[in-house]
C-alpha cells in the first residue's frame, strides 16, 4: 500500500500493484491464445472464450480521450471530481478519475500518468482509494 494512502483499501478489482519504485501499476489480462487485452482482469477471454489468460502489466502513461467534471454523483464520492477515459499504449481504454489538476488545465490527447488517490468515502465510512491519472 502506498504511504500517502494510509490504510485506505483500494476498490475491489482494481488490480493495482505498487512497484519497487513506489509507483503504482495497473494489471489487466492478455489472452494467451488470441492476444486480446482487457482491463480490469477477467477470467475468460471475450474474443475467443479461452480461459488461458495471463496478467498484462499496463503502461502507467496514456493519453486523455475525454473528461467531464462531475458535480452530481451518488453518495460517497467527493464532488466535484473529474471523470475521464485514458487510452493506454496496450490498446486498452481505462475509466478513471483525474486528480492533481484543474479541469481548465486539461486538453484532449494530453499525456496522463497513473497515480493513486482517495476518491470518496465508502458505505463503511472508510476512505475509498483507487488508481487515478494526473497530467504527466
Amino acid at each position: 500500500m502506498n504511504e500517502a494512502m494510509g490504510e485506505a483499501p483500494f476498490l475491489p478489482g482494481d488490480g493495482i500493484a505498487i512497484g519497487d519504485d513506489g509507483r503504482p501499476r495497473l494489471t489487466g489480462s492478455e489472452c494467451a491464445d488470441c492476444g486480446a487485452r482487457v482491463y480490469p482482469a477477467v477470467a475468460v477471454c471475450h474474443a475467443c472464450m479461452s480461459e488461458n489468460l495471463r496478467p498484462l502489466a499496463l503502461s502507467p502513461v496514456g493519453t486523455l480521450y475525454s473528461w467531464s467534471v462531475v458535480h452530481v454523483a451518488p453518495k460517497g464520492w467527493t464532488t466535484p471530481y473529474i471523470a475521464a477515459y485514458v487510452d493506454l499504449p496496450e490498446g486498452v481504454r481505462v475509466f478513471t478519475h483525474v486528480v492533481g489538476t484543474y479541469a481548465a488545465c486539461l486538453a484532449i490527447d494530453m499525456k496522463m500518468r497513473l497515480c493513486t488517490a482517495v476518491l470518496g468515502t465508502g458505505e463503511d465510512g472508510k476512505p475509498m482509494a483507487s488508481y487515478a491519472f494526473t497530467p504527466d
Binding site: S68, V72, A73
Partner: protein
Amino acid sequence: MREVSVVGVGMVPFGKYRDKTLADIAWPAVKHAIQDAGVQKKDIEVAYCGTALGGMMSGQRILKSVGITGLPIVNVENACSSSSSAFRQAWIGVASGIYDVALVIGVEKLTKFGGGTLPLEKEDFEVTHGLVMPALYGMRAQRYMHDFGLAPDTLAKVAVKARAHGALNEDAQFRKPVTVEEVMAARAVAEPFTLLHCCPSGDGAAAAVICPTEMAARFTSKAPIRVLASEVNSGRYMTGFRDMTTPEITVRGAHEAYEIAGVGPEDLDVLEVHDAFTIAEILYYEALGLCARGDAARLIEDGDTSLGGRIPVNPSGGLLAKGHPIGATGVAQIVEVVRQLRGECRNRQVEGAKVALTHCTGGGISGFDHGACSIHIFAR
C-alpha cells in the same frame, strides 16, 4: 410475417407521482389505449410490460387493476429500451400469427429512488469507480466539441428546442420554455452539462394496442398506423479505443431498420429520438442519417429539426422536456408518433406527417456504446 398496425395508444402525463403505486400510475394509460383501439378486454391475447426498475411482476400488478388477467403477461427489462423492446416482442407475436391483439405497456416510477442520477448496476466496474450517466454523455460531448467544433450555445439550443416543443404538449413534465442563457446559467451537473442539458427524473406510463393491419377496421375507424420496421440491438462490446462521437449501436440499428422498412432518412417526416442529454440528439441526427458526420449543429442552428422545420425531431419535447421515466419512454415515443401520423397533435402537429421513426437507446455498461437500442419506423 403479417403487417402489423398500432390501433390504440394512451399515456399519462409524465411527472412526479410519489404517492401513487406503479399500478396506479399505469392503469389509466392502459385504459386509454384500449378505449382508443376500440378493443374489448377479452380481445387482448398477450401483454408485454417494459420497465427497467419497476420490480417483479410489474405487468401483472398493473393489469390486475383493470381486470386483464389470465393471459400471458411478459415483463421486459432492457434499460431505457425496455418498453420499445417490449413493443418488438409484441410485434413478433402478432406478425408471426401467434396472436392477433397484443397490449404493450411502458412504465416507471423513479421518484421511489428519491432523485439524483439514475441508480446504475453496482456490479459494473466503471459504475463502482464513479461513472454516472451524465458524465458518460458529458465525455461524449467534450470529445465531439473538440473534434467537430460544436459551440456550447448550439448545444444549449437543443434544450431550448425541446422545452419549446414540450410547452405545447400537455403530457410533458416541463411545459415552460427556456432561453439559451437560462440553460447555460443553470446548476452544473457534469460538464459541459447544466441541469437543463439533462432529462429530468420522473414517473410515467404509456400503452399501445397492436393487431394485424387487415384486422384494424374491426375495432376502430381511425387510420391504422403501420409498423414498417421493428428492430432491437445490443451494443458491441469493445475493449479498445471506441469513437465516442458516433454511437455504433444506433448507426447499425438505423441501417437495419431502414432496410427492413424500405425507406431512408429522406423519407421521414417526424422523429422521436433518445435525447437523454443535449449531446445525444446531436449524435443521433448523424447516426440516423439526417445529416453527414459533423453537420448536426447546422440542423439545430437552422431550425430544421424544430416544429415548422424541414424534419421535426422530438415534437413531444423529447426526453429533455416530456421527461424520461426510463421504461415508459419507448412506448411514449410510439404514442407521440402515432398521434402525429393520425394528425391529432393540434398545436404541435407536423403537417401531413406520413412516415415516422422512434429511437430509444441506453444502458450504461462498461465497454458498450449502449447496452440496448430499439428503432421503429411507422407509416400512416
